[in-house]
Symmetry: C2
Subunit: 170 residues, 2 copies
Amino acid sequence: MAASSTKPRSPAPAPAVHRAEASADDYRLGWFENMVGFHLRRAQEAAFAAFKNRVGGIDIRVGHFAALVLIGENPGINQTVLGRAIGRDKSSLTPILDDLAHRGLVVRQRIVHDRRRYGLTLSAEGERMRDTLQEHAQAHERQLQQLIEPECYEQFVRTLKRIATILPPV
Amino acid sequence: MAASSTKPRSPAPAPAVHRAEASADDYRLGWFENMVGFHLRRAQEAAFAAFKNRVGGIDIRVGHFAALVLIGENPGINQTVLGRAIGRDKSSLTPILDDLAHRGLVVRQRIVHDRRRYGLTLSAEGERMRDTLQEHAQAHERQLQQLIEPECYEQFVRTLKRIATILPPV
DNA sequence: TATTGTTATACTCTATAACTATA
DNA sequence: TATAGTTATAGAGTATAACAATA
């Protein structure tokens, strides 16, 4: 999660992964106590922080990792579709892909019969990087799964998917 | 960064609530398919976007709403403890409380025997605002709950809490 | 005209560090 | 010295709109 390229870190401190601790029990959540939305947010933040800490030694970010995995899974995918898969606008992907391509992890290749698009694939080094990161992610995932009662795991993931996909935009 | 050109791009767009749609099923999630972390993130983003849309007509943000609820629940709480409750650094709360106080929703009162602290309470108007927002939040919550099988609800929330509180920082 | 990807730009959120004033 | 809150600042992350190239 360090900078994608070497960058002078002037007066700035190391951007440590931070998680504000709510250790002391000197407040009441009250109405939030059983709110799904509230705890969904807290859980996501905790999981995200834990993952960032885990891969903290590797100079790559979560969004970059997601791109590596999905390109590996969908070789030849273009940036617009990749954006949909990650849930980000295509313009947000440009700097990510720029970086990954610049580091030789991803290959962008113009598609012959539609020269507007790039087909994205992983280089051999990109595959190695993805594999390394996947090992970390797998360990992280095991850690998460330990917090879920085994008989509830399937249902838990299914519920998350349902929320992500069919929650109406209101 | 190089602002070499003279042509001004367009000025500020309206900060609309956006959710990139992943409608077309023209990609495979592959390895992410059953990852808790991945879907936790997507679910949280969807829920957050839905909530923002719901209260979109009211000039207040999620962090502000959280502050209102928690101050209402813990009258006299100070900013540092409030920050722990929300999971944010105290410095992040200063502008939020500035705004809420400026709008007459929250009252900051120096504590007599420790003049470093403020005791935070809701004004009558703050309570009204909180109540209005809570109605929206309650509707949002009902919507979320409809996506959870009723017999799994308790367990679902419990799991989220467990992830948020006892996930080791690695 | 529509689409892909890029660029310019702006904005939200949040943390860190240094600071003031208290304790 | 330690703590509560503020200020200044940095920077990650991401969107929107306009654009060029191509369809």
